[in-house]
């Protein structure tokens, strides 16, 4: 009876360990960002792309307006692919687009905007990538949707596609 009980305890314990390690094996061993986590927009000060001046985040984001913050660079190939969709979104009156020019050369970025069009109501310069870190980005392109309460409500890692554009449109409706 005693031996049976010991065996039972050992089996339960080993099963417990097996389940834990099996679950651990199925967990991806790389970074998977949380895309639906609600966060406040960071407070920062950044240089405006078109003006020779700095601006505070409080002056950029107003309440009761939806914003998209798009991290882009002229050297980033996927940014070119998503650019027509950003141009399409910029025609929507309910949303404003803010561009974060990530680790880029000014002349190349200017040429990119001149060639492909400017969907942004304001472009900020992120020369050293630290502004992207403040937003919780880890690459380029990345897009953040900010709601009327100045909260980041969605994060899209990689280039946006038509499906994402439709999703954004349905949220801001």
């Amino acid at each position: 009876m005693k031996n049976k009980f010991s065996l039972f305890v050992v089996v339960i314990f080993l099963s417990f360990c097996f389940v834990i390690f099996y679950k651990g094996l199925n967990t991806p061993n790389n970074y998977t960002p949380k895309v639906n986590e609600k966060k406040n927009i960071p407070t920062f000060r950044a240089k405006d792309f078109n003006l020779d001046s700095h601006i505070n985040s409080d002056e950029i984001f107003e309440e009761n307006t939806f914003y998209i913050v798009n991290i882009w660079a002229s050297w980033c190939v996927p940014c070119r692919a998503e650019h027509p969709l950003l141009m399409q979104l910029s025609k929507n009156q309910s949303i404003k687009l803010i561009g974060l020019n990530y680790r880029d050369n000014y002349d190349n970025a200017k040429k990119f905007i001149d060639d492909f069009g400017n969907p942004y109501s304001r472009i900020l310069i992120d020369k050293d990538g630290t502004l992207g870190i403040e937003f919780g980005a880890y690459g380029v392109p990345e897009t953040f949707l900010i709601d009327k309460n100045k909260d980041i409500i969605k994060k899209f890692v990689g280039p946006i596609n038509q499906e994402i554009v439709n999703e954004i449109k349905s949220i801001i409706k």
Binding site: K34, R103, D128, G129, T130
Partner: protein, 123 residues
């Protein structure tokens, strides 16, 4: 001459103390960077990586230290941005209870077996 000596002494004291404070900040910065995971690299810390992400994190950590933030506050800042995964050393929370307590349970379980087999059998 005496004034000059005092001046030199003051100069040395103030400069050495500044150097010391810089060194302390560097040690702290390196300690923090070694404990931050480079999210776009394979198993590398931010300290070891030369990627753009790592270099931006290095700048941010440097800035936060100069702003007077403590080590734990910097980790908290990064956790808020990227989650627990960004820090190598996991905190004790509901997701890591098993991780922290399993070795202890195994130790107790093993200890109980040894106690039962050796001590009780001797008696």
């Amino acid at each position: 001459m005496k004034i000059l000596k005092i001046f030199i002494l003051l100069f040395l004291v103030t400069n050495f103390s500044e150097l010391r404070s810089d060194e302390i900040n560097d040690v702290l910065k390196n300690k923090i960077l070694k404990n931050i995971r480079c999210l776009i690299c394979q198993g590398q810390s931010v300290y070891d990586s030369e990627s753009e992400f790592a270099s931006s994190i290095k700048l941010i950590v440097d800035r936060k230290i100069n702003e007077g933030l403590k080590e734990k506050q910097i980790y908290q800042f990064l956790r808020e941005k990227y989650g627990d995964w960004v820090i190598f050393d996991p905190q004790l929370n509901k997701n890591t209870y098993v991780l922290w307590l399993l070795p202890l349970l195994l130790f107790l379980f093993g200890g109980a077996i040894i106690y039962k087999k050796i001590i009780l059998n001797k008696k």
